[in-house]
């Protein structure tokens, strides 16, 4: 097409030298009607220009004419089926090395990410469960400790009471013993006094009877 543009524009520009010469006589004809020489001259130059244009068309781009004839925009031939086959081969090859492997890889990755995400959600539930478990363990431990404390308290109290009772018994026994001793001493004293009383009464009786 550009060749056609070339073909149409090229002869136009070079004869532009002579084209004013061809147009001038027409305008100047009424002004200088008595100058046939110039007209002749211009005619000559016109024919010259025409031949020049003609030669330029045929000579300048020698191969142009046949090229334009051969120029085929809508030239269907074996290229078409070859391109078809090439396209199909390219499709299979791209499918094997690009679409299927990368697509599968991307899908797998998506699935893995989704799985991991849902896994994270699950562990949050697990964490809650674990927390509850920990709380339960703590509660149980606290209960155990308080129970142990109570038990210990009771035990110590019992022990203390036992010791107290023991002490009391001991004290009681000692008191009893002391009382018994006191009693004995009293009786002894009384006995001694009794014997003295006998002697005394004898004395008294003697004294009195001796009268």
């Amino acid at each position: 097409m550009a060749n056609m543009i070339m073909a149409s524009s090229k002869p136009l520009s070079p004869p532009s030298l002579s084209s004013p010469a061809t147009s001038r006589p027409r305008i100047s004809l009424p002004k200088f009607p008595k100058l046939p020489n110039t007209q002749l001259l211009s005619l000559k130059s016109l024919s010259l220009a025409a031949t020049a244009a003609a030669t330029s068309l045929t000579l300048a781009p020698p191969s142009l004419a046949e090229e334009i004839e051969k120029a085929a925009l809508f030239d269907f031939n074996l290229t078409l089926p070859i391109i078809m086959v090439q396209f199909l081969i390219l499709m299979v090859a791209l499918d094997k090395i690009y679409f299927t492997p990368l697509g599968k890889f991307m899908d797998d990755r998506d699935a893995a990410i989704k799985e991991k995400l849902s896994g994270v959600k699950d562990t949050s539930g697990e964490v809650k469960q674990l927390e509850e478990q920990a709380a339960a363990v703590m509660r149980a431990a606290r209960a155990e400790i308080s129970a142990a404390l109570n038990k210990m308290k009771k035990e110590t109290q019992v022990e203390v009471e036992k010791k107290l009772a023991e002490g009391r018994k001991k004290v009681d026994a000692e008191r009893q013993e002391a009382l018994a001793q006191l009693e004995k001493q009293k009786e002894d004293t009384i006995k001694a006094l009794d014997s003295q009383i006998d002697a005394l009464s004898q004395d008294i009786v003697k004294k009195v009877l001796s009268l």
Binding site: M1, A2, N3, I5, M6, K10, S13, P14, P15, L17, A52, T55, S56, L59, A60, P61, E67, K70, A71, A72, L73, F74, D75, F76, N77, L78, T79, L80, P81, I82, I83, M84, Q86, F87, L88, L90, M91, V92, A93, L94, D95, I97, Y98, F99, T100, P101, L102, G103, F105, M106, R109
Partner: protein, 247 residues
């Protein structure tokens, strides 16, 4: 005469440097048939770029993607998204077709704009985007037609042809015509856009070889991407349309 020829020759030289040759092909003969060699060569380069880059990027996929892998994952997501919106939930088996269609056209178009093909001189014709040739676009469009027929027939069996008389039997001719207009419009849209884009750039470069063509070049890049997306989206839409159930 001499001056004229001289100037013509210099002009021709200028045009040869910056010119585009449309409809000029480098012919090879394969088994008595002619092929457009420049289209095949550039399509091989495009295929090599696609295969090589995807092999390098996807060779060893990482869980945390590296740069190249990230880009290819983005592209795959994009293709899947296009397929899903057009085809529906059963888009899986069609991802390779739609994706290859998109990538091949996209890389072809951009290779025409970005790769300096013209450094390599051919005896006839010139290297350009493979989508610059009607053979390529028609081949892709026909493959799309085959694909949607295949999709419909595998999904619904012969009941697929019931869609021709679907709203009313009166529309039968129009419905049949649609099967011809679809590949026609697909191929000519792509072909026309890419060819026109390259032509506009070349003509502008030959007229004003400074600054002015740059915005047009960027527009060309944009158009190329859009055309690839349109082609892939329409292919997916046709496939989805032939797979969807009627009421």
């Amino acid at each position: 005469m001499n001056v004229l020829l001289c100037s013509i020759n210099t002009l021709k030289g200028l045009y040869d440097i910056s010119g585009v040759e449309v409809g000029q092909h480098l012919y090879w003969k394969i088994g008595g048939f002619q092929v457009h060699a420049q289209v095949l060569i550039t399509s091989w380069v495009v295929i090599a770029i696609l295969l090589g880059s995807s092999i390098i990027a996807v060779r060893n996929p990482q869980t945390i993607p590296t740069d190249g892998q990230n880009f290819f994952e983005y592209v795959l997501e994009f293709i899947r998204d296009v397929s899903r919106t057009q085809i529906g939930e059963e888009y899986g088996p069609w991802v390779p077709f739609i994706g290859t269609m998109f990538l091949f056209i996209f890389v072809s178009n951009w290779s025409g704009a970005l790769l300096p093909w013209k450094i390599i001189q051919l005896p006839h014709g010139e290297l350009a985007a493979p989508t610059n040739d009607i053979n390529t676009t028609v081949a892709l469009a026909l493959l799309t037609s085959v694909a949607y027929f295949y999709a419909g027939l595998t999904k619904k069996g012969l009941g697929y042809f019931g869609k021709y008389i679907q709203p009313t039997p009166i529309l039968l001719p129009i419905n049949i015509l649609e099967d011809f207009t679809k590949p026609l419009s697909l191929s000519f849209r792509l072909f026309g856009n890419i060819l026109a884009d390259e032509l506009v750039v070349v003509v502008l470069v030959s007229l004003v070889p400074l600054v002015v063509p740059i915005p047009v070049m960027f527009l060309g890049l944009f158009t190329s991407g859009i055309q690839a997306l349109i082609f892939a989206t329409l292919a997916a839409a046709y496939i989805g349309e032939s797979m969807e159930g009627h009421h």
